[in-house]
């Protein structure tokens, strides 16, 4: 979570709020923040660290692991209408790459800003070519985009 905390100001600039969730109590969250995360990130964790000891929230998001009694590394991008636009779930030993999350947020924000008129091809990064789906684009994607253009 320190990786997310570290990039919190970048996320805030994009208008993104963060909530982290685990099965630890909020008391343990405080101890983890005070004793370890503050040593990794100046000022500690700036967002809400939520506690889901019974796994109710994790079950609703499909990340509850009943064998281990923990929540898997699930990451959800939720838009201003409360709709989930992206989800990624990893097993515990591998961490997320926040830069990819930020890229996806930027892509979904671009789609939203164009009211769905533009779509983001594979590998799109801000400033990259977008696609404008419509009758003229059918069969003609090759004219405006190819895999070598991936950012």
């Amino acid at each position: 979570m320190s990786a997310v905390a570290d990039k919190y100001s970048d996320l805030q600039k994009l208008g993104v709020e963060v909530i982290s969730v685990s099965v630890d109590s909020h008391f343990v969250h405080k101890m983890w923040n005070d004793h370890e995360l503050t040593k990794m990130v100046e000022g500690g964790v700036p967002f809400h660290m939520a506690s889901d000891q019974a796994g109710n929230v994790g079950r609703a998001y499909g990340v509850w692991d009943e064998v281990q009694g923990i929540e898997l590394r699930g990451r959800f991008i939720i838009d201003p209408d409360g709709v989930i636009q992206a989800a990624e779930v990893l097993t515990p030993p591998v961490g997320r790459r926040l830069a990819e999350t930020i890229r996806q947020v930027q892509a979904f924000q671009h789609v939203r800003a164009t009211k769905g008129a533009e779509a983001m091809p594979a590998g799109w990064v801000p400033g990259g070519t977008t696609l404008k789906p419509g009758p003229d684009l059918v069969g003609n994607v090759w004219k405006v985009w190819k895999p070598s253009m991936e950012g």
Binding site: H48, A54, Y61, G62, D79
Partner: protein
Amino acid sequence: MSEQPQGCARITGTVSGATPEPSGPEERHADKEDVMTARVGQKAPDFTAPAYHRGGFTSVQLSSYLGRWVLLCFYPGDFTFV
């Protein structure tokens, strides 16, 4: 997101609109898949949960962020290594 009184009860996250779980183990259902399951393109299940935030204990509700983008991150546990 009000400051919460801190008792000794084991408070936990709750999905909005979900019926409280029966207390007796014999009454528990083995599978609770009837609880709303998240899917991309669908509404995010709303929830309320106790939280630690900038030195204080509070409560956080997902739907209070309607109108803003939210990054919701689950992780296996505090003091784990990744």
